[in-house]
Symmetry: C2
Subunit: 214 residues, 2 copies
């Protein structure tokens, strides 16, 4: 399959997202955030399907990485504001290159490139545990793109530390999701199937005690 003419849907670009307000009022907060997101973001060309555990957002057309980054930043920031800044977490899974029908048949070097994502800052300080998995079938060393992505995160202004199995990012929510989505999209230009998981935490009391969150 020649990749250069493929749509995001044909490549299989999308995410799963869940938002977890630590509040008795979580159902209202999530519904409010979904409403706000629908009003702020053009949802045309996105396929959105909500399951019991998380919501799938697939991109059919357009600048896929930018659209997913905007959707997730807006949804999480809206939920945080709708909760009056109670503690909130979110889990995101970004996937690229295995739509199912065309499982991992993309050819390295023929994969469409992505524009770098740009996002407006949210004013919400967040912490995230981030993992990036290039699922190469070609025998190339899978750790190299990970180290390159971590170096790029460090250059972005976000605070980067290493823990077991994850890299911890701290900064504005939009800057964190920008780093995550850009790294994933960049690796995805070279590795046919790439997945990234990130757990985001906003307004955690432990961060407030440590003085490193607003």
């Amino acid at each position: 399959m020649s990749g250069q003419t493929l749509s995001p849907e044909e490549i299989g670009i999308g995410m799963r997202i869940s938002v977890h307000p630590h509040s008795d009022d979580y159902e209202r907060i999530i519904l409010d955030a979904l409403d706000t997101t629908k009003n702020q973001i053009d949802l045309g060309g996105l396929e959105i399907s909500t399951g019991e555990v998380s919501t799938y957002v697939g991109v059919k057309t357009g600048a896929a990485a930018q659209r997913l980054a905007e959707y997730s930043t807006t949804l999480i920031a809206s939920a945080s504001r709708a909760s009056n800044r109670q503690h909130l977490t979110s889990h995101l899974l970004f996937s690229r290159g295995c739509p199912g029908e065309a499982t991992c048949e993309l050819i390295p070097g023929e994969i469409p490139s992505e524009q770098t994502v740009t996002l407006e800052r949210t004013g919400l300080e967040a912490a995230a545990a981030w993992s990036l998995y290039p699922l190469a079938d070609d025998g190339s060393a899978h750790m190299d793109p990970i180290y390159a992505a971590i170096d790029q995160a460090k250059a972005s202004g976000v605070t980067v530390t290493s823990e077991h199995y994850a890299t911890i990012l701290r900064g504005d929510l939009a800057d964190i999701l920008g780093v995550v989505v850009n790294a994933w999209a960049k690796v995805g230009q070279e590795v046919p199937h790439v997945v990234s998981h990130v757990s985001v935490s906003v307004d955690s009391p432990s961060a407030q005690r440590a003085g490193d969150a607003a």
Copy 2:
């Protein structure tokens, strides 16, 4: 490195776990659950370190898969009970084979095998979005062990459905985590570096409306 004599710590077997009660009272619930877990489980030989986003649990000695499965099942079930069955989610990342110091130097065929995990049922019906990533460097097809693991999950009695980027498991919390940990440990006997992510949901109102959770 000859693998057969390696300890879990040398192989790099552990997890990151976070528990998210959807409750104003989340701090007390989590502290209660940690206390209960400490009283029910022998924590000797585990390295536990709590970060802002999630907690790292590394296994130094013993039956690694069994110990991680028991710890996570007990912690999530205890939090659910401490919250009086308010909606609760948990995110888990299991990793095997990349301790950092000995990055991915394990030799297929020389990796110590794991006993199959057995867990007591909790009486808590749960749903989970599960992903399994064999991070092979040897050019073998990375989807094959995933399909084998999904077949085994189907044979276990847990309800298995496919969604974009994840397999949905429904059943008793212990049965779900047993399937996840056994699949990950089994793939890890053949693929040096294997990671699995699972988002667990207990007592979600959408499940209750659909009638498929207690």
